[in-house]
């Protein structure tokens, strides 16, 4: 397998409504920033991989056709990935695969969502012709899983609040973050309305417009400061299966085991310096701490409570502010992967974790059944 590195990252400022740009303008903005970071232009790119969540979000079907021009893809190969909420992560992995498989030297990966041109809860609730719709959106779907986690682990009710505050404090240090809430504290989170028991308004992610892009390179074409890919993995399991554990899905455990094996990680809590994980509802931090092997079963909430996952803790999670602070759905996974790369490149700015050498990027989607992860490092694998 050929080595692959991230040599450029570009993000847009995440916000509720980007009325000043079209969808094409939005993705181009992120792409140009990633190219600038890599010191390259569209001419240097061999192929483009684009990802986003369901086409129903913006009402543009297979938007790669429309976006080919804006992304300098004309005359090149272009692919469109869609793996639900994990799509941003999968998009990065398909891009990396083109380099690892020796097909191309430089690949532009882009993911976006322009939620202001849509109604996500409506689009997520539209039922298949042969299924009943609960019209509950993602929060309604995941709330029971969170309640089950609380029941099993005996976690006290304030843990979700702690994550909501921590990630929003981190977001204050990230120039691209959507939600910047000065003075955020536990009391403020607890004062917000209950949306889907036990998820309160400020324990859920915002709806954002935004795009993220990365330039990936083969070893021989590296420019600038690379973040080396040490491991990549995807795993999926069926949404309907008796005895499927939706609180700690097997696909997540297997995906983590695969990516750790490739990167030589035996003890993630000790060996991974910073993790960007997909936490759209605050309770998913303790849940994923366990699923990803940072804590034993039932112990994840204790790590959160101890402050271990804070920016100054021993395993900072979501130093960027995470999905809780910015959620352009289709891009959210790619942002996690890109932020992991920024950390090991030492380019994360104010939310940089000192001395970060190994970072995890993580995304999940569907009914907590699709997973995409990568490990990036400062050193060549």
């Amino acid at each position: 397998m050929n080595r692959c590195a991230v040599i450029g990252v570009g993000q847009t400022h995440y916000t509720t409504k980007r009325r000043d740009v079209s969808i094409a303008g939005l993705v181009r903005e992120a792409a140009l920033r990633a190219l600038e970071d890599a010191g390259l232009t569209f001419k240097d790119i061999d192929a483009v991989v684009i990802g986003k969540a369901p086409d129903l979000f913006e009402g543009v079907m297979m938007p790669e056709a429309y976006l080919a021009d804006a992304l300098g893809a004309a005359g090149k190969p272009m692919m469109r990935v869609h793996t639900a909420g994990s799509v941003g992560g999968s998009t990065a992995l398909v891009g990396a695969s083109l380099i690892q498989g020796g097909v191309h030297d430089r690949v532009l990966v882009v993911a976006f969502e322009k939620q202001s041109e849509s109604n996500a809860t409506w689009a997520l609730s539209t039922h298949l012709p042969f299924n009943a719709s609960l019209v509950v959106g993602a929060g309604g779907y995941f709330a029971p899983h969170i309640r089950e986690y609380m029941r099993r682990s005996g976690a006290p009710g304030h843990i979700g609040t702690l994550v909501a505050v921590k990630d929003r404090l981190n977001a204050l240090k990230n120039p691209y973050a959507h939600l910047k809430i000065p003075g955020i504290d536990q009391k403020m989170v607890e004062s917000t309305p209950m949306l889907w028991e036990p998820i309160r308004y400020l324990e859920t992610c915002p709806s954002s417009d935004g795009a993220c892009a990365m330039v990936l390179s083969s070893e021989s074409k590296v420019t600038g400061t690379p973040a080396w890919v040490h491991g990549t993995a995807m795993r999926s399991e069926p949404i309907f299966r008796a005895a499927r554990d939706t609180v700690s899905p097997q696909a997540g455990k297997d995906c983590a085991a695969d990516v750790y094996r490739q990167a030589g990680i035996a003890d993630p809590r000790r060996q991974i310096d910073v993790a960007e994980t997909y936490v759209p509802f605050s309770w998913y931090e303790p849940m994923w701490l366990e699923n990803l092997g940072f804590a034993a079963d039932g112990e994840g909430w204790k790590l959160t409570e101890s402050g271990a996952t804070a920016l100054d803790g021993d395993i900072p999670w979501n130093a960027s502010g995470g999905v809780l602070s910015s959620n352009p759905i289709g891009a959210s996974g790619l942002i996690r992967f890109a932020e992991a790369a920024l950390q090991v490149r030492g380019l994360a700015g104010e939310h940089q974790v000192d001395g970060a050498r190994m970072a995890l990027g993580h995304a999940y989607g569907g009914g907590a059944q699709f997973f995409a992860m990568w490990i990036v490092g400062r050193e060549r694998p």
């Binding site: 543009v60 297979m62 190969p77 272009m78 469109r80 695969s97 690892q100 298949l128 995807m234 795993r235």
Partner: protein, 343 residues
């Protein structure tokens, strides 16, 4: 590049109406068929292609996963494109060298909606889509640009439909009539018989690398070249009578490096066949779309994958030694993928 071959191909008996089968029910038999044919129950990688807008609901591929028995969890991905691009992603993944097999499938039920209108929302949402330019309108623009002889177009339709009638998986469709009756037009210059049928269907392919290909199959269809290219979206920025992206993809895949016995082209309209034959520089003796092609069965999102499967089948059956499978996407052949297969 590592040797990767198609070792099994299966497709549904396509229908021109909704049989009531759900998408997982459509997929399950073809998955089972390729599993039985190869004896493989698990694959190193799985990738699928589909489009949510056909069902009019998000996440078509989520329930499709239930047809795979994805337990224990599998390494899996999805492209919101024709299954041919899922095959491309799987081929790339097999180049890593750590896995030896991949399952690819594509599916679509265009009977559920109005495909002609649905394809409009593939266009630029600000400038083009609001004009209501639909699938037949933009295909007719291209047909006009190609300006092909009516007799040649009728002949392509007649040949495709006759071939389709002898293909047990395709539809049984009437021949074009020779009259110049204006009632016969869908959108001028396209006649109703130039329009591909609304079709429901699915297909699956197994890829195997290295020694595994020979172990699973006596005549593997080796992928000797595979490439795809996209063109500008705006119709005014392209010469619609030509297909630069198909020509580039064909050159990159090496179509011209040897004789082509059979070419299965993702030509949904007869004029597209003319454009593609030229772009791929296919020799005059190449047999085009012996399956009947998309004019005889067009299960959108599986049609391109089926072209590659049909091209591979000639080699799997021992009837040919070098074939080409082609897939297209986007308005007026904007995006083209070309695969060269050899015994």
């Amino acid at each position: 590049m590592r040797d990767v071959a198609i070792v099994a191909f299966a497709q549904t008996q396509h229908t021109d109406h909704d049989t009531g089968a759900t998408e997982p029910e459509l997929i399950l038999p073809v998955i089972n068929e390729v599993k039985e044919r190869t004896g493989l129950k698990r694959f190193g990688f799985t990738c699928s292609g589909s489009c949510d807008y056909l069902a009019g609901a998000p996440f078509s591929f989520v329930s499709a996963l239930d047809a795979l028995a994805a337990w224990p969890p599998i390494s899996e991905s999805h492209v919101e494109m024709d299954g041919a691009w899922a095959l491309y992603e799987a081929w790339v993944r097999l180049q890593h060298g750590d896995i030896d097999s991949a399952l690819v499938y594509g599916f679509g039920k265009s009977s559920l909606g109005d495909l002609r209108t649905i394809m409009t929302i593939q266009l630029d949402p600000y400038y083009l889509a609001p004009l209501g330019l639909d699938l037949l309108s933009y295909a007719a623009l291209q047909a006009g640009a190609v300006g092909a002889d009516r007799k040649e177009l009728d002949e392509i339709v007649r040949r495709s439909r006759a071939d389709g009638r002898s293909n047990p998986y395709a539809l049984d469709l009437p021949d074009p009539d020779d009259s110049e009756d204006s009632d016969g037009f869908a959108v001028q210059p396209l006649k109703k018989t130039d329009v591909p049928p609304i079709t429901d269907g699915a297909a699956a392919i197994v890829l195997a690398a290295g020694d595994l290909a020979r172990e699973l199959c006596s005549n593997p269809a080796y992928i000797r070249g595979i490439a795809h290219r996209i063109e500008p979206h705006y119709l005014g920025m392209r010469d619609l009578a030509l297909s630069a992206s198909a020509a580039d993809a064909a050159r990159a895949a090496g179509v011209g490096k040897g004789p082509v016995e059979v070419a299965e082209l993702h030509a949904q309209f007869p004029h597209e066949e003319i454009v593609l034959r030229r772009a791929l520089e296919l020799p005059g003796d190449t047999v085009i779309n012996p399956s009947g092609g998309p004019l005889a069965a067009n299960p959108v999102m599986a049609t391109g994958l089926i072209r590659i499967g049909e091209a591979a089948r000639r080699i799997l059956d021992g009837d040919a030694s070098r074939t080409v499978g082609h897939a297209a996407g986007g308005p007026c052949l904007q995006h083209n993928l070309v695969t060269v297969l050899e015994a």
